[in-house]
Symmetry: D3
Subunit: 336 residues, 6 copies
């Protein structure tokens, strides 16, 4: 990356191969002292390291207790280590480690992130917002997107923990993809209410800014697990509508119905099934964006030189890609 | 009925048998002029009549156009008629009909209604509310139940259109049944938070006051079909909580999680599945009340002298009752 | 319609209301003599009539035997009749009828048909075909679309018997819609092989030219019921590939996999589930086109002045539309 | 525990933390000699130990062959050991071990057991039995509960291997819970036949005394796996009814129908679905008892200080509890 | 039919076509007086008639009250009538009717019956029984088949109410078919215990002698609906085993497991799923017999000259047969 | 084995028990160098070995790098080793190893293979083919079975990768079993078209010769995963029919329908459900053969002396067998 502000974190975990000796910065996800089977040898230290390319296990075999004290779970650490193969998996043998200094890494390297530029995406989003002609819908949308605190979260948030757009700015990217697909859909079916569809797309996943946390890892919040983003989005809109007393009742029902039914089927956690043209449109183009992103991510993560991905437990199948050579994560970033 | 305020509406539709000549008052659900097959004979009039015991088809064979003009869909009509059998079904041949006067019927006879006294049920409900010790939960519950407009609707509302407690005051009766079951549950599992369970029960179905209309028939509102009472209840609480800024966040999550998961399974339209002790308790005792009421209603509606009910399409089975003689709906009301 | 070549068939069945006296031309789908209940009155004749707006029952009460002999099932008949209401349904009382002359009707009025102009659609389709750069895929696609016999059927065929694009030229219209959606999809996911996606779209439903017959009604052929269009398309391509010996094996697998998996799930009759990026793209954009068309059709067929459609048994729900007045089928044709 | 008859077994396995040095008595579930990777070092011994709080792996590193000979699988052993962490799990390093003497432990500490006093539960059960007024039902119930051999098993048996009340006396506790819930149900729905419901509850799970074995572990018997307790209970009653020739046929059908349908749905292994009021009541209150016990157990087993339990594979979710400190199993026993 | 003992009942209902004038004997399934729409005309009589070929509606237009008194529901009546078409269905206009004399019909013509000779089937069955070598299994089987009362019912009973072998002697025919299939299965898989498989087949559906009644119609008994034949068979065997104290426990478990799992899947009402070689064999060959019979019956009932059957709601499809001409039911009986 | 051509490969992997010292020949499925935890000790070598009885892990602790270079993945190696127990599993410690010479092993010992003699099976198959009287069907069948290249693959191919007949010649054995079952089926239901059923059986799984590869392991081909054998068989027949222009269209549809529906249900990957008598017959007897083979294989692989097999994840249950002693794989081969 040619970004002058982008600090060199060292190699990404996914690019390491057995035998590499390297220095790098990584998130320390957990640390634990374990005892050798031979009690005379005392303890060793097991760490789980992460960065935006994935995660690996690392061990400190010597002076483990001291190393244990030197670093904290949840911080970024700098280490000097070597990769090796153990029980058919790659792990890292650490020779030295310490807490990293803020100027030694770039937080953007630590969590996976959209390959698109966030600022450009924000510009594109604003164009879509500005194209809404219905003043009620525009006011409601702006109630959120003109709120700086909300908007900052919306820009950063991932769209999922694992399945699709599961990286920083993923929610923004996903929302934009649906807006783009919507234009073609409207061209084919002019019976669809364009402003209603746009507003529904912009608001359909806003609950995710509270469903996930994404400090050093993407995870569910308690609220996310107990309420779910579908219901939270409806609640956020219901509260916002309190300050828009002239908002037409029928428009409010149609809009909220879209959000509540956008998962499409009860068994996919949708409290309603689509019953309007705008709701069925949102469900299908949202799903198109999500599934393409999911397949694309799974295919790009398959082992170099392999046609087939690993078996995916949620899809219950392996996927098939082209047999062209894959680039390292660093190379592929440079391309985009 | 010995109630001095209770006007004599005439026989209930469910109690009529072929050959009865009678005078009575009924809701006119629809009217339609139809032409005889023999064009020389002109038109006849087909009416759909209802009261709280069910509905029947009626015909006016003579002077149908005049009769058609005399009455309005949606009003109560008084008629002189005779029941007869046609194509294996009972129908009514009408000799005379007119709009009924307000003092000729009691609205309570027109829609099915709980067999329990509403005032007694309200007293019992208030006792349960008063037993809540947690001041936050109590304030939230009272936010609704001290609101006269809401409370009036809550007292009248049915709990469903068809399946269970599908009659006036059904929501109140259903809520009380769950509160009673909750006491035993708490005795068995003191680990359950009693106040949270009570508040969750009281609020779990409040969305139904907006999901149904029950003027002359129980039906879904547009809002009910497009949003659903589960999500509406959550929304109503979220808005109410805005006026209770000190309400503990964790308590709010637990309470709303109960409402959102009380249908238990995604395929039953539940946006969440129960994840707390209070949520699983609410789901199961709510279901116990609903299913017992549903079975009891189906069994009480089976044909006199029959052990088995008709086939129920939702349950996909027939139910089996005792073979004791059934009472007419009027007699059974007198008993209770 | 201002088309000078368009003959006046008389009113469309869907536009008739009780009391209309009219002359018109319709497909005679079936005829049957039935006896009056009163044996002294002899027989009457029951006909099922159709045109592209729907179908209705008609009766000849007088001289039924003669009328029975005058017309043949499966031909177009001209009649003089009047609509009336019977058992809450509209039916036609026929005064006179005879076989229609070829110059008295336009076949395009008899079966429902796409509202788009077939010739324009063909032009658009050819542009998409011409944009395929891969010579193997282009040769395969042209193997079909340059075959006049196939192409004539492809242009006429419906895309379904009932669910979506269930009218003449529906297959062409559906294929075009997917091609248009594909352009946006490719813009979002350039990793998709554009030529493979285009070829897959063009060929995915070619089995439907043999799955359906559409003489005077859209129906399944025996082949359609016993084999199904998914498998037939694969078979047609396998045979075509025999004349293209240089077609790359991997490309052939990827292409046929797309067709075989485009229904997406086993329970939707798909012998494979999507395992490539092109296959998942085809599945989702194909479904988007199909479901939007289906919802749009159901909503446009709802009763005038009603917000909700009738209950749809396949979707297991009613749909919600805007409450604006609906146009007659003739008016709506004039708009397009 | 203040019970003078209760011998001190040493710490419970679930209360051990890395670094504890202790002496205790445990069930030896299995033993196996394994070879060190370095052949010069010979063998070590791996043991699986259990008590009523759970199970742990233990190792003997020195003189493993001698230790192997000293103890038998399936007996109680006494050991001197120390806990340590290995591959992120706790295991025990054993310094000394031998067979335990009968006076060194209390069998009740070895298998998990109800926290309620069995004698009190038996008294409560007898009160419920005595309240049955129908002489036929009473005779049938007593046919079982007056049979000492059966009754002894009934008192001891668990209600399940894992899911709910999966401990000694669990069947008794579960049966009592349902009887208590039934009282409230009867109060709400007096149409339920009280004696039939009581008898149905008392007998619904009697097949479990033969479905499970619970010597040193709760497990399925061959009969349990091949026939299942639902069918076995029906069979036991059918045989008992042979000695009660006057038992009314209809009552027998209703009672057995309750047992056969108490799992509620075919996919939950129920050969019938509830078709009577008593059957639907039994199904729902039985399920309430089972699910509350299951949730309560899962929540009480979550890691100290955690709000969320581990992911439960059968429920396919994590559960959420209060964040108050958890007590050790010994402390919580003292409370009850 | 050349059977000298076979009385001439008149035409079978399924063979009647509009315009036939005939005299015949039929089961009177129900009778009901209905009023003409024109009250001056009084009442007519509607009858439901049945014989082994199917059922039809019949009407008495003149002197209906007298006719109503002359015949009883559930008896065989003799009538003089004529078939006519009404609302696209065939019905019978009756001119004269009276109770039939016992010597005017053969009961075997009234309910559908196996086309195979019962006595031959009994002989074949006995050969299979005699081939069982294991004395325990033989004793158990004979416990039933040597019991005259049981055996008489077993020979007569249908195997189902509708789906397969739904006619007199159907259970016997179905059992024999499975025994025949079993011989081939044993030849392929000699690991199967032949005696156990034979005994399991002979006993697997014995509960059906109590699950169905087949007086003038095949119907469920109360016991059949509340317990089901799967569980009843197990119960009958459990009771029989009480008189065979030496019967090996393991053999008993294996045998009863076969019966309990022979429906194969929980959702098909099977309380167990097959876990032994004999159980999986029984499940599959039983299903082969049932499904072939079901398909064969549906195909033989399709309309003359049609390739496709009517839509079958349980199979959710139409079936496809050969287009050769179908014989009347009388002709096809003569062939067999 | 007394086969003079059968070379002695050494013990089968499944027969090895801890402590065995042996020399034998095995497929080398994979090899990997791993580092000791103690870096001073360098690397060891981990191998995965296979033969027709199963697979095991093996280690070379000394001079691992040299051993690594000496052998190739995918070849047969000869080794001198000893079995030992590690983490409750058996593994092999290798002392010496090298590539095996072709005359040191018999390829038939390396992959599991049918216990029946392939030549005898081929003879039996030809008899079935010769019994087809319909010249069209016979020509089509011979189009395949007279093609030497096809026939050689058909004889060798397994019928599945894991579930049933998952060994060399399994497809041939499975096809024969169905043909044998078909004879009995035809005897019971002579309405079935015998030639059509035979041809359908012979051709139903021919796609498997391209769906699987079985060099040193049974695996899916890319074509198998992307198209599936059901569709491939249809395609192969469609192409073959091009050279048989007189083949009757209706016969072709019926035959291909059988193949396309032989999995029976959409959710089992069947693009059609059976709609003809021959199709339902094929589905059920095919399934009988497959499930009996599957159960038999699982039961024969259970641990010696155990009644119950391990839990099978696809069947989601354990199976129950007889408790007689099991033979080693070598002994059981000698018996057959």
């Amino acid at each position: 990356m040619n970004d002058p502000y982008h600090l060199d974190k060292g190699p990404f975990l996914r690019d390491l191969v057995p035998g590499d000796r390297f220095i790098g910065n990584y998130v320390l996800r957990s640390k634990q002292l374990e005892s050798f089977r031979d009690p005379a040898r005392g303890n060793f230290l097991t760490l789980v390291l992460g960065d935006r390319s994935g995660q690996l296990i690392a061990r400190v075999w010597e002076n483990a207790e001291i190393a244990y004290e030197d670093v904290l779970e949840g911080e970024i650490i700098k280490l000097d280590g070597e990769t090796e193969s153990y029980l058919e998996r790659t792990q890292i043998r650490i020779f030295r480690l310490r807490s990293a200094e803020p100027n030694e890494y770039d937080m953007r390297d630590m969590l996976p992130s959209s390959e698109r530029d966030p600022e450009e995406m924000v510009k594109e989003l604003k164009t879509f917002i500005d194209s809404i002609k219905d003043q009620h819908l525009l006011a409601l949308v702006n109630n959120f997107f003109n709120d700086d605190e909300f908007f900052k979260l919306f820009i950063q948030a991932p769209a999922a923990r694992r399945v699709h757009h599961a990286y920083l700015h993923g929610l923004l990217e996903h929302t934009l993809e649906i807006l783009v697909l919507a234009q073609t859909t409207l061209q084919l079916y002019p019976q669809i209410n364009a402003d209603l569809l746009s507003a529904g797309i912009l608001l359909h996943d806003i609950g995710k800014v509270r469903e996930y946390s994404w400090e050093l890892d993407i995870n569910y919040t308690n609220e996310g697990r107990l309420l779910g983003h579908v219901v939270m989005a409806n609640e956020m809109i219901a509260i916002a509508l309190q300050s828009l007393p002239d908002f037409p009742e029928d428009l409010s029902l149609r809009l909220r119905h879209m959000l509540l039914s956008h998962h499409g089927r009860y068994e996919w956690g949708s409290p309603r099934r689509p019953k309007t043209l705008e709701a069925i449109a949102l469900h299908h183009i949202e799903n198109t964006s999500a599934q393409l992103n999911r397949f694309n991510a799974l295919l790009s993560f398959r082992q170099p030189g392999k046609d087939w991905t690993e078996y995916d437990r949620l899809l219950r199948r392996q996927l098939y890609g082209s047999s062209e050579d894959e680039l390292s994560i660093e190379e592929s970033s440079q391309l985009s």
